[in-house]
Amino acid sequence: MDLTGGFGARSGGIRPCREPIGLESLHLGDEFRQLVTTLPPENAGGSFTALLELPPTQAVELLHFTDSSSSQAAVTGIGGEIAPPLHSFGGTLAFPSNSVLMERAARFSVIATEQQNGNISGETPTSSVPSNSSANLDRVKTEPAETDSSQRLISDSAIENQIPCRSQNNRNGKRKDFEKKGKSSTKKNKSSEENEKLPYVHVRARRGQATDSHSLAERARREKINARMKLLQELVPGCDKIQGTALVLDEIINHVQSLQRQVEMLSMRLAAVNPRIDFNLDTILASENGSLMDGSFNGTPMQLAWPHQAIETEQSFHHRQLPPPPTQQWPFDGLNQPVWGREEDQADGNDNSNLMAVSENVMVASANLHPNQVKMEL
């Protein structure tokens, strides 16, 4: 079992975007504006800092939309978020913005951060490369801060942060799919998010301020952070008084803590219910084990009978196209993939239906595979 088997989503296609940030690139001038405006709408890859525009905004959105829908709990602290009931959580998951956010964040983390290899070293923070395909360009000029439109938010932050960058050669034909990671030149820039495009960020050297690269980098960062703050203030009601990065950090911290607590609670719950550690397979894929442990109950005929009922009632869920099974050696490829893929696709928040769909597939799987066989293969 190779746990480090590749996650199929190799993000890639990043052209070696090397945006040398020399001193001249940080100076402002007309030539820069020309550069910026005439740049082709394609970006080879977001740079390190360009991507960094995303996380806090995304983080905030994540926090806001994934916490309970009824309350802006992020600001008030997430202490009470411990193990919310399944239904409410499923309801939260049903939020279209929530799923969009998670999808976006997942893409961000999977694709963009896969490109981090070697990128960090020697890359100055101000090499922010604006992003994406031309399709996204028109989004740059959108209204500020609709909380339910994270894209607009992102582009807002992009608008507010303007850093000049000679990055035209780095425009990437950014794909929305996963690509093979290209181990190209030493300095790859990160691919910016597919859904975001980060236009150029102008840093205006104010009168009397130093223009050396370090202070410019600092100033760029600060301005970016300030832009994020502004977005945050628009997102969160009543946080106008809160200044600075502290708010972002607070929310992020709360969210991380709440998630970690939830994991703890869930693992306790799973441990309490199951006398064995590998409960997962036993109870889900083959409840025969559970029934055998209980003693007298022979679940096999029941299991075979049960899926029929489940299937009849859950026909509506079968329209989902099954994802292709991965190439990894996984004995349940054909079975497990649809189980989880389908289950997680339920955006309707109908937890009972989810469970039925899952269980139905589970039982079908167990009918086909003997649990002992399962274990041996693993």
Partner: protein, 167 residues
Amino acid sequence: MMNTYNMVKQEFIKKWINTLHMLDSSIEHPLNVTERKNAIRLSSDLAMAAARNGSTVWSRALISRSGNKTANKPMARRILKKARNRMKNRCNILRRNGNFTAKTGVRKRTDLLKSLVPGGELIDDKDYLIRETLDYIVYLRAQVDVMRTVAAVDLFTRNLTNDRRNK
């Protein structure tokens, strides 16, 4: 379009089943709930980090941190080998020059965040820390979602079998 997040969760599930079995086969049966919980938590964290596949600081740090708890387990060793190699190569790179002066409140919170995110203390640059945190949050969410669903399915299955038995 939930494809990416779904794939994250699927990846996590696969790895989790693997780690659960590895753990189960390699340690003697724990007797009390706390040990079981720790084992489940450990396997889940390892699976999450393995699903992330190693190019993030937090995933490697999580693996090496979890490895301390399962030093005798061959599985952890295997993962640890790869993780440690990468960690060694990366630790130096991570220390970027961040010359910004953080405010006090931000500083405290940054330190707190660093303590929360595995491997955060290795990261000097605040922006990079935030990005690592966001990646970590995604996978944390996936972990929570999967575990919650598994627990629910487990409960549901148990109720179902109990009902059938009681009839």
